[in-house]
Symmetry: C2
Subunit: 408 residues, 2 copies
């Protein structure tokens, strides 16, 4: 099929995968296919790497039903990458873009992807090539600035909220055998993902008892152990959330430093913070401990995907096409919460300059962190719960009604 006279559109996915990054791709593809201003709709395999290798997929000729299925398929259907563009890469990418008559470059990703998009925009302008570059936010880390939240976060938040409450129920059912459970989570340098673990708490009997946030770095590993011991004493059992990248107050990674492991052959091993901390709880507190590391399962668990997240991710993709066709460039789609206070949750779509996104990160603000530094506030719950989609199912407990013999 010959390209129509309209400009062609390139779309790619970049960075870590999520439950909803394909929903954004579907939004872009369907909107672009429907637009008379767009000619061919072309997908890059593995983001900018696929462009450089000219591994390109025709999204305009996909079999019927493909997009409907992809909308509910996690991970990145085009493949993803982490590729820092060199100056040579930039020129080569633009040469290919020009050869393929591309006018619209849409990139679904996080901070690094925004940087790539921004540099493509600048270089295109320098050489006088009309290219509209739009970025569609995507990261479970929720650490992009100038957007209420990032598509992908609501779904990992839902998964971890539910899974943490479950893990807590498990721990409290058998506090003498495993009084301590460590849950290691992702989140890069920000505490958004860790904080989400609190969102299914029905009351203060529910896990987690401790959330270690990068924004409130513990003084040392010894301090972490002391806090776990105290929580276990007070509560009978303790579920502690630890980000995989947690550092101490001096900026040293808690799973690294001079206490790494060596095997019988002298190789240094880095099992990660979850298993390390569980072992230290056993050895140094004398408390049996387990760890769960949901890992990559958590960040793209379609079984717990947020319906709100899926809709917003797709709509962000559609909005990017509309903005690009209208002539905008060098922008990321931003989600804006409309109304405030007690207004029902509603999102509008705006744009923010890419240079304000690239290579920056948004940490958890103080008002979302409890005074103890190990919990979240009601303000965080109000912020985050709407992102999780359908209301979380409530759990039950038996009422404490001791059975007493009638003749006692």
């Amino acid at each position: 099929m010959a390209a129509r006279a309209a400009g062609n559109l390139l779309v790619g996915q970049s960075g870590g995968t999520t439950a909803v990054i394909n929903a954004s791709l579907v939004g872009v593809a369907e909107e672009a296919i429907d637009s008379t201003a767009v000619g061919a709709v072309i997908g890059m395999r593995h983001g900018i790497e696929g462009l450089l290798r000219e591994e390109l997929i025709d999204l305009g000729r996909q079999p019927v039903g493909t997009f409907a299925r992809l909308r509910r398929t996690p991970s990145a259907a085009l493949g993803t990458c982490r590729h820092k563009l060199s100056a040579d890469d930039l020129d080569r990418a633009l040469a290919i873009i020009r050869r393929y008559a591309v006018r619209y470059f849409l990139y679904i990703g996080g901070n690094d992807s925004a940087d790539t998009a921004h540099r493509l925009h600048l270089r295109a302008r320098e050489i006088g090539y009309d290219l509209r570059v739009l970025s569609i936010p995507k990261t479970i880390d929720n650490d992009l600035p100038h957007t209420d939240h990032c598509p992908g976060y609501g779904s990992i938040a839902r998964f971890l909220a539910l899974a943490t409450r479950d893990a807590g129920r498990d721990t409290e059912a058998f506090p003498r055998q495993y009084p301590v459970k460590i849950i290691e989570v992702m989140g890069r340098n920000a505490g958004w993902v860790a904080a989400a673990c609190a969102l299914a708490q029905d009351d203060d009997r529910d896990a987690p008892q401790l959330i270690f946030l990068p924004e409130r770095a513990p003084a040392s590993m010894e301090a972490v152990l002391a806090e776990i011991a105290a929580a276990q004493r007070n509560h009978g059992s303790c579920v502690a959330i630890v980000p995989e990248t947690l550092h101490d107050a001096q900026g040293r990674h808690l799973s690294g430093g001079d206490r790494h492991f060596v095997d019988a052959f002298g190789h240094a091993y880095h099992p990660g913070l979850g298993p390390l901390l569980a072992e230290r709880v056993k050895h140094e507190l004398g408390l049996p401990a387990r760890y769960d590391k949901p890992g990559t399962m958590a960040r793209m668990a379609m079984m717990a995907a947020s319906s709100t997240d899926l809709v917003e991710a797709e709509e962000a993709g559609r909005e990017a096409v509309r903005r690009a066709v209208a002539g905008e460039s060098d922008r990321m789609i931003a989600l804006v919460r409309v109304g405030d206070g007690d207004a029902p949750y509603r999102i509008a779509y705006d744009v923010v300059p890419l240079e304000r996104i690239a290579n920056t990160e948004r940490l958890l603000p103080d008002e979302f962190i409890g005074d103890d530094g190990r919990s979240v506030t009601a303000a965080f719950r109000r912020y985050a719960l709407p992102l999780l989609g359908e209301p979380l199912p409530g759990y039950g407990r038996l009422a404490e009604l001791p059975f007493v013999l009638a003749n006692d």
Copy 2:
């Protein structure tokens, strides 16, 4: 409230928790409350331990709505235990049972719980006390003999099937960054749980590429590494399922032996097979590797609970009450698959003598294991898929339609 003239009923939960063990409890409680043959309905806190401490809960006076919520609440609402009864314990338990006018003893648990129940039955008969002892099967491990399957298995199977497919999609989206993913799962000495990780495969592009089954022990850790390297070469990426208890052909635990870790202070650490194997893949194969350890989250993830499992768990509890009231004792409820071949899945409830359950285990039969020893057969899929409840949602992929310039 005075106990009615009918015999009282004791119910407890024992062993590891599951997504549906509370459904069994609700089945017992509701059926018992409705039965004119049953007086008070009493729950033991933490199984037999709660009986010995007389920590007993009145299940007949729970607030309205409690059971409806508990039916969809994972873990053990009464608390659970692992307690091997001593001879003294037995006599003490029976003295309490007699004092509380208990005629029905219902125990929801696995092999060890069946042993406890069996010994209680025998001792009651020895001393001439009329006690009807019924056990309700419960284990994610699915390793109880003489039952088609165990309540709890269908739900962990559903979770792991979905999560493994997701983890595979993640790995294949970015095979150059993390070509190998290790998923560590539970399952004791049997491969049922590991095998379930294959149940959401849409086709052979989907994970897992390798399932290490206890029934097909690898020769050594080196053999495991060689298999992972080969799978990654052939497939481009590799998701490998490893049971936490995996042993080599000589019966040595693969995560232990002489290659344990020591920290800078000389303490031996046992981070578990997942992190160990991921580190060895990195060091010895030179392949970046990650591991996921869903751990206790997997065994009681209500977000992926099987509707079939929930119904069967509850019905097994109800059946146990009916059998006890009818005079049966020393039996476990067994699930029997009705019809064969292409008949629609349907389960009937029978009983099996406890002595045939206690301290035995059922391994994955040969006909469920692929010839390569690292996959499952179509027969296993036919067996297991109905246990997972609603059909698993299908995922999509882009069709491989390269975009070619019209003038190329």
